[in-house]
Amino acid sequence: MIDLLAFARPPIDWHAAAPELTLLACGALLTLVDIVWLERAKAVSATLASFSLLAAMVPVVTLAVDGTDRAMFGGAYTVDDFSLVMKAVFLLTAYVVVLLSTDYIAKGDFWESEYYQMLLSAVLGMLVMTSARDLVTIFIALELLSIPAYLMATWHKVDLRSNEAGLKYYLMGVFASAVLLYGMSLLYGVSGSTMLSDINATISNSQAEGLLAVVVLGLIFVVVGFGFKVSAFPFHMWAPDAYEGAPTPVTAFLSVASKAAGFVALLSLVFVGFWDRSDVYQPLLWLLSAASMTGGNLMALRQTNAVRMLAYSGVAQAGYMLAPLAVAGESSATADDALSSVVTYLAIYAAMNLGAFAVIIAVARRTSSAEIDSYKGLFRYAPVLTVAMTVFLMALAGIPPFGGWFAKFEIVLALLSPGTAWGVVLGGVVGLNSVIALYYYARIASYMWVEAPPDNVQSSSPIKVPASVSAALILTGLVTLAFGIVPQWVGHFTDVSLL
């Protein structure tokens, strides 16, 4: 007979869980307001959502000031520098997405309160993901952030393209989860635990037990599962369609936050769970990275739509971020360099990519199109937006003094630091791809600056940019510039370790 009273609740560190709990409470409040106030709730839901995100930022800051690493549930849920930095990135990203959505969602006759509720639950999943150090927790976090995202992609219900985007995203996402889960079950079978640290301990000496094949298979399945999430080539095919069809603010969210969440999971898996099996994951990630960079860039070259182009550029950017993981297992110093470089990249990528989407949203108000042709002559009638877009595109291309150069630089630095031939070759691939990528970024830039505006655009009056989108533009623009000119500001925070 089990004595129910003997069950003791595992100790909970309320401070450590405060960001998630705050967000949960605010999300519940948002739902409540919607239920009680009905139509009137629409007016406040965006404000409430952005305050929720800022409120959740408070405990993140206090935890960072406190500075001690905290672990709960036997280490399944950890709060350390890495998770705090990523939590901050997710919260701020979501804040910018709210800014981008406010006007778009209100104008489009969408379901506002529900939209922000979905957004908050997805962010909650991301916060959980940063702290998850256990297979089941990672899986739950993944679903918590993915399921609302499927719905958000379909938010424009009256548009068939939005429905198509949602369905494609959903099918590929669920398929990826299944593959991931199968890999997780294999890893669990080999190690007898779902804790990443236990998995690392057991799989590092599994050769003797003849379970190598199972370990390899499990690792491949898990990495491929997250390969879908981060839209790495050749698992990227959902991304361009989902990005194009989804409402643009949602696309911004998917391309930044959702991708970053996939990376967070991959990082904790690689550094905590698999680190000693570098013989398995390094070649796998090397291939994935090289293929993503090259494939993404080559396909981006022939896009005619700015959002699709950014989707493929996102595939390439995922390749850059995967690159350091391909050498991470060489030594613990390299591992720290690799982790810091990916975190740096994620932070800078968030700023510059959100900025680019902010401009796309602003320009689409005038041209009602994201076709690259519609950017022709933008400089003549919207010089500020043109300069902003140029900054973001050049940051994505990695041209100093805009943020992106430092992100790429840290990646290459991490690749070269162990001095292995594989690392050096991949560094060369990164360099070569930066040149290919410049072509399509520069093409948009030269459309905006060089060409004359098409006839159907009245170029006499300036584009009216809503205040919230302007705020998003200023925020992302300043961050992109600051990170490029004083990279120490981001480097200081992203100098983290998981080992």
Binding site: V136, E143, N163, L171, V174, A178, G192, N305
Partner: protein, 102 residues
């Protein structure tokens, strides 16, 4: 009757997974595709249970509960998407939705 060893369960799980995997790739009806995904998730459940029993560890069974719940949620969302889509076109297959390409 001889005891079935854990590896038999794993073989069943692998077969189920493979069937689901193949089905997802070859079928074009969204509903059938959902069923294939369900098949894959259940293959995972079989594997978790078999491993959990073999290792005498409760973690495997616990994982199954999570997977079950998530699978249910996913089906709800998936059906909602299909319903939304069928407002545009009844009997839609995955090939019919192809506005977005490039």
């Amino acid at each position: 009757m001889s005891e079935l060893s854990a590896s038999w369960y794993l073989a069943v799980s692998a077969a189920l997974f493979a069937i689901g995997f193949t089905g997802l790739l070859v079928r074009r009806n969204p509903l059938i595709m959902f069923m294939c995904i369900e098949l894959m998730l259940n293959a995972v459940n079989v594997a978790f249970v078999a491993f959990g029993a073999g290792l005498n560890d409760v973690g495997g069974q616990v994982a199954v509960f999570f997977v079950l719940v998530v699978a249910a949620t996913e089906v709800v969302i998936g059906l909602a998407l299909v319903v939304a889509l069928s407002r545009f076109k009844t009997g839609a297959t995955a090939d019919d939705v192809s506005l977005l390409k490039g």
